[in-house]
Symmetry: C2
Subunit: 298 residues, 2 copies
């Protein structure tokens, strides 16, 4: 398979689903909904929903229908997008550009951007619980909501972002950097895979191997993010580069240097791919995705 | 029954439950969790969880156990608290005081306050879906999550807050003011009652009457809020008063004058109490709560 073509195809599937599920910007709440739509349709890579969908297909049988898991996949993208909107705020990273486009608050103002994020997070849980989607049995849906809310919450993504902000510019021990990565980025990536696995009726054992895969690519994803902030150009990345070093941010390259960091990312990807050996068929997309995460340039 | 004693007792039940469910501020995420706990335990009136619990008890049979619904009640308080933290931010209402205490961002800074709100919203959905609580059957739990996420989301509380911010200081038509109230305050109040009703196995018909009750007290609650902003002292209210008028905010008193507004609040309470006629027993707490909402001074 060609990973580039695969990613384009999957992105299209996700964006069609997002388009069909997302609230339309009309009626009394049109302006607010427009602020959410702006960031949701601002050209994201859709990595989390793609991972969710890929895991579900790998675990599901031949009759597995994408529509079973697409609301879950889209909910994950809503959560990811809300976190980016809030991360970019002046009180946080104060970024003007995201994916080459003006950030939410630079277009709509701070108050609207805070609420756009709040609305997107809440809408994610609406999608996850909506009576419009009932292909997944209730007990499994609850489990998915529990996994995602823990991964995105105070001991997961939000907690990681909080640690990141609190310790910005400080010399922190490596263990703390690892905790920040695992919670801020890794937790939601793993939750994306696990929720896909559960959507398709995956067993506890399958969930455990999917979890191993998720930890591997989650780690690789963050190390590569740090590397790109050093090596990439603003044009490639769609946002300012070198900002981590200017802020004195703790990163893998700052701890271990560029070359060793690259080796660590490659090892993490290798571990992730090994976890796929426990699945009989349909592992190629997740295998290629793991390699792609390590080789991406933006 | 004496409503003051009742409220003190119920508040104690809610706060004991919140204390037992809420994450402890230790471990890697201690500082972040502390920012959430600060606002969650800052002396709220706990109206939403009290309504949830009261509705559940009214609908449930004699053997109804409070513990069935307490996680739901506490989730509602987490959502309410997050919305207050974000409402108080400099980019929004820029308030320094809330319930007589320094607002979250004045204590911990803007970034931490944004994340405290984000974490609390997410934690609410963790509570609602947690495998630690399984007294409510999965299908009903999903319905509760759906109702709460819609009430708190882009067409509910967040949407209402967005409209409020967007039109601040503008002369808006009454219909828009009503939409703002229904979405910003009314929706979550109604959802609190409905989720209590569903937790206790309420029928569709019971949910419909509870909904009528909720709309009545939700309206009264907001009108009284507007009135208190004019008539109350800062000491009574625990926050600055007269701020609505200074900001040129559209309020019931601004539209109809104080006396007519008071009459409208009384009518809304009357309608709410009439909806309780459809329940055979245990209506007294909700009846007294409706009257209390109209007579409260803070």
């Amino acid at each position: 398979m060609d990973i580039k073509t695969y990613l384009i195809d999957q992105k299209k599937i996700i964006e069609e689903a997002l388009t069909s599920y997302m609230l339309l910007a009309n009626g009394d709440f049109a302006e607010h909904i427009e602020t959410m739509r702006y960031s949701l349709f601002a050209g994201g890579k859709r990595i989390r929903p793609i991972l969710c969908l890929a895991a579900a297909r790998m675990v599901g049988d031949k009759n597995f229908d994408d529509n079973t898991v697409l609301p879950v996949a889209c909910a994950l993208e809503c959560i990811h997008t809300y976190s980016l909107i809030h991360d970019d705020l002046p009180a946080m990273d104060n970024d003007d550009l995201r994916r080459g486009k003006a950030t939410n608050h630079t277009v709509y103002g701070e108050a609207a951007a805070i609420l756009a994020g709040d609305g997107l997070q809440c809408f994610a849980f609406d999608l996850l619980s909506s009576p419009d989607f009932n292909a997944i049995e209730p007990q499994a849906r609850l489990k998915i909501i529990s996994i995602i809310s823990r991964a995105a919450g105070p001991m997961g993504m939000v907690g990681g972002q909080s640690l990141d902000v609190t310790h910005e510019g400080e010399k922190i021990p490596f263990e703390l950097l690892r905790t920040i990565h695992r919670s801020k980025t890794g937790a939601l990536i793993t939750a994306s895979l696990l929720s896909g696995c559960i959507s398709a009726g995956g067993t506890k054992e399958q969930c455990s191997f999917i979890n191993d895969y998720g930890r591997g690519i989650g780690l690789a994803f963050q190390i590569v993010d740090d590397i790109l902030n050093v090596e990439s150009t603003a044009e490639e990345l769609g946002k300012a580069t070198g900002s981590d070093a200017r802020r004195g941010k703790a990163t893998y390259p700052a701890f271990f240097g560029l070359e060793k960091s690259k080796g660590m990312a490659a090892d993490a990807v290798k571990n992730a791919i090994q976890a796929l050996d426990h699945f009989e068929t349909g592992t190629e997309p997740l295998r290629e995705l793991a390699l792609y995460i390590n080789n991406r340039t933006n």
